[in-house]
Symmetry: C5
């Protein structure tokens, strides 16, 4: 039985963790979800390391929603570096799912974007553990999470 | 008995450490506070590592107040990366609490902001060690430290 | 028998992995290709580490296509740092091959650039493992991948 | 007997190392100074690691003077990250003392600034090893090195 | 017998490695040169780690020539961080010698700059291994590599 850690924040303004857990459970079985919630995105890396070491997680889904200020971009950059360092150190994937407040106009669009992106990253997380060949089949196809896929540069190949 | 290290600087212009310790003690019991003071924010990461290794800390609260100059932003970025690297290395949380001088106008507002943020991060630190479920209950609710909470994007869910 | 890992993404809009594998096979023999596909470039570092540890790779070719937005540049920077950290940690080369969408005008040019760059980095990867002296012979000659070589500053030496 | 390493550069335009050593010796006894000089600030991190491993240093004072160009700021940022990583790795303090050429107008002011900052960081280094409580007494008091102290936000507390 | 690794790239437009090796040999004896050539500057850090681990190098001289584009600055920054991380990890010096194409006007000036800087960094590398006291004698004297020395801020001390 694999374990997937869903790690989210109290800073985020949408409950992305709940959306991610539902999406994971809709993907299939064979895993158990463990949950951790931290204050902000800069607390995610150590929480992921603890999920690997203490909860036996095989993969972490790290969810966050940086604000609109320039400083929030800096925090997101720092958090991303920390998540990458942690995943390399543990040799286990951390799927980063960040939604920037400025990516959508208005609360309805922002909430929809955040949920959709969380769901699509959750599907990716499931595929990484259980169906890696499904990722391989879509290599170079311009897939996106949250917004519409960009698609391959040329349709005919 | 858990140990919480409160690490602050002589560079800061408000005694955030004192505010944090009081707030910690108001949260509950079951922990002992250890203190370290260093010159500036770039000295915080190694002081946290020493607090983990030498003082047996289970969590560090790292308090700093970068100045208004652009170079101070760079120093804060470097300090943040160091704090994140240290927490991942030790697999123990470091709650970073930085207040930028430019965030408030005038000494009264700056002092109030610094104390409030230190207090609210102290409450988070306590929750991370003793009441993680209280963080989980507020996942995605747009909580902030120092300023008013942003709140969830939509109130009705 | 050496092993070369070709790691690519579903985010990329050109199937650079296929171009790289063909180019590798055209270089010579003595190696086996292992494949991994991940969602985006920030997932490449841990996938390379897994390729080293789990697949016994001697070298990774990491292929990605960041988008046009400024945030994509940040992601590429983070991914690059992660790839470099991973290669140093493992003491094994990771050949990074990124194509930015903004580097070419129109789908035909972008696809041609992406394939050519993947092929030329694949040739470099082969040389690093099997013909290091061929790299040494071209030291300081202004070689480029994807675009025309810049050439040495002065032709006569 | 503690050991303090004073590490400086040939790139700097003021002999900050000499100023630092004198200031250290004026602070008190109980330590021996070890010296290392490297070409530039980017050579400081490994020199500090060598001072810890080979010279038995308990603390390093890393002195440098980046130039006026924008690229010098980048080098200083890289050096700072390297110094921080090294100190965390070794769990021993590295007191970074950088003076940017653009911080002062004219050679007399620049030299005075560089010496004063070196002296004040040396005093901090001594305090970190021998009088940590003296740092604790000044927590949050807005101390600065090289220029006048900013002081606490409010005098009455 | 010490070993000095000279690591260069096929991307560079001047054969800096050859200039460096000649300059090393003109400095004195007691060492053997080992050579590695990689495609670009981002491949230098792992090549240096391999030189330390596989070739028994005591010091690496890492030579590169980033292009004029803004992205080349980013690559140089990433390479520098990788080189610094590697040197700290191994506790052995890596002398970074980068020449940016935009630093000189025209091929003759660029080639002269690249060779001179490679030579002067080679002299530094030799001094770091065999004559550290010669570096110490020039602490704070404003030495530069490639261009004229800036000199100390004040001549009389």
């Amino acid at each position: 039985m694999k374990r997937i850690a869903v790690v989210d924040t109290t800073f985020a303004r949408v409950d992305m963790g709940r959306a991610a857990v539902r999406a994971l459970q809709a993907q299939g079985t064979g895993f158990r979800v463990v949950r951790r919630t931290v204050p902000g995105i800069k607390d995610l890396p150590v929480a992921c390391r603890q999920a690997f070491l203490q909860d036996g997680a095989d993969l972490c889904l790290a969810l966050g929603m940086p604000g609109r200020a320039e400083y929030d971009q800096t925090c997101a950059h720092e958090a991303s570096l920390g998540l990458m360092f942690t995943s390399v150190l543990e040799a286990k994937p951390i799927v980063e799912c960040f939604v920037f407040e400025g990516e959508a106009d208005g609360p309805v669009a922002l909430e929809a974007l955040a949920r959709r992106r969380a769901e699509e990253h959750a599907a990716n997380a499931y595929a990484m553990l259980f169906r890696p060949q499904s990722l391989a089949r879509h290599a170079g196809e311009g897939l996106r999470q949250g917004f519409a896929d960009a698609g391959p540069v040329r349709r005919t190949r």
